[in-house]
Assembly symmetry: C2
Homo-oligomer: 213 residues x 2
């Protein structure tokens, strides 16, 4: 199909498609004559995946490119893909706090990981982020919020198993790859959205008024 039809079928405007081509997010079409380029069904699918990452997942162009480069590496193991998708969606956390605070938090995160029987390593992008969060909670004198981390961890563990199982059941290799990207990027967004709804419900039921306490 020509670029106009690609735009029509995906709802993505032609200038935006050209931008994705220039940025290397979308592979080029096949040039069939000096001024005609043909696009395939795979371009439709790829465009939808790009839009999902950018608009729903909130990734930057650079982060989306990083994930797609990983998706496009032939023979890549799913485990490596997951790591790439995770790194791309994780913001680098600023390091704050003293060396002692940092070391204490590192120890606590290690213990939490051990407690949940997880084989993950400190190089995981979530690991460093979690250490920073622990330092922050304590810096604000809200160490009691750390008790919640075990509840979060338990939920995260159960969800990860369900997510991986879902990915494993995808019929094709490409489907598995896409499942990892969607599970990581859209899974975070879905969890955050559901937390808002559940919190509103819990708050409506409690109706705690801080100034009448």
């Amino acid at each position: 199909m020509r670029i106009g039809e690609l735009a029509r079928r995906t709802g993505v405007p032609v200038p935006t498609i050209k931008y994705y081509l220039r940025e290397g997010l979308l592979p080029p079409g096949e040039r069939t004559s000096p001024n005609q380029v043909r696009y395939a069904e795979t371009h439709i699918r790829r465009l939808k995946l790009i839009r999902a990452m950018l608009e729903v997942g909130g990734l930057s162009i650079a982060a989306a490119r990083e994930v797609l480069a990983e998706v496009d590496s032939p023979g890549r193991a799913l485990h490596g893909m997951l790591g790439a998708a995770q790194s791309a969606v994780s913001r680098a956390a600023a390091e704050r706090g003293t060396e002692e605070e940092w070391e204490r938090a590192e120890r606590e995160v290690s213990e939490l990981v051990r407690r949940h029987g997880w084989a993950a390593k400190p190089g995981n992008p979530g690991w460093r982020a979690l250490v920073q969060i622990v330092v922050t909670y304590r810096d604000l004198g809200r160490g009691e919020l750390l008790d919640l981390l075990d509840r979060y961890a338990e939920a995260a563990g159960e969800l990860a198993l369900a997510e991986l199982d879902m990915v494993a059941r995808a019929p094709s290799a490409d489907g598995k790859v896409e499942g990892v990207v969607l599970g990581t990027v859209l899974g975070d967004a879905a969890m955050a959205a559901l937390r808002r709804i559940a919190q509103e419900d819990a708050s409506l039921r409690a109706q705690i008024r801080p100034h009448s306490a």
Copy 2:
């Protein structure tokens, strides 16, 4: 204390403190002479909260200001505060998909909320985001991922109860308010971090290689 001591005690550089003052994130100090301003202990606490929101929570200056304005409104009920904190940390989702797709997704989200016995309303910032996620999953032909939403919802519901309970147990009104902000902003970050770690573990155990499937 003078601004230099405030900087030393919080680790936030003087120019950054001045920037937060100009942006209205930090309330002005007390002018004690034409060229001397004094800051109080409350400024230390507020600076730490600002850094937590910006650096760990990833909020923009505008979003942080919105949350703090809510925190500073006297007599504000916790429920309203939660709504403000939620709106500030939620990105506006682009609306994609046809009207029918959108309506179908709206119905499914309503049903999910009903299934979990939640009293939340469609105005909740998570609600619209979730509808968009459902549209996206289906647009990509990955409707089977929707089965995960009930698992996410169950986990989110349990966590919300634990979070609200933690907030309710804070000894002071200010502590409750801060707990809501931290629970919303840092809770999202903590959950995302733990999901990365749990996913790495699940993936290590599975070691599914897509191209050998």
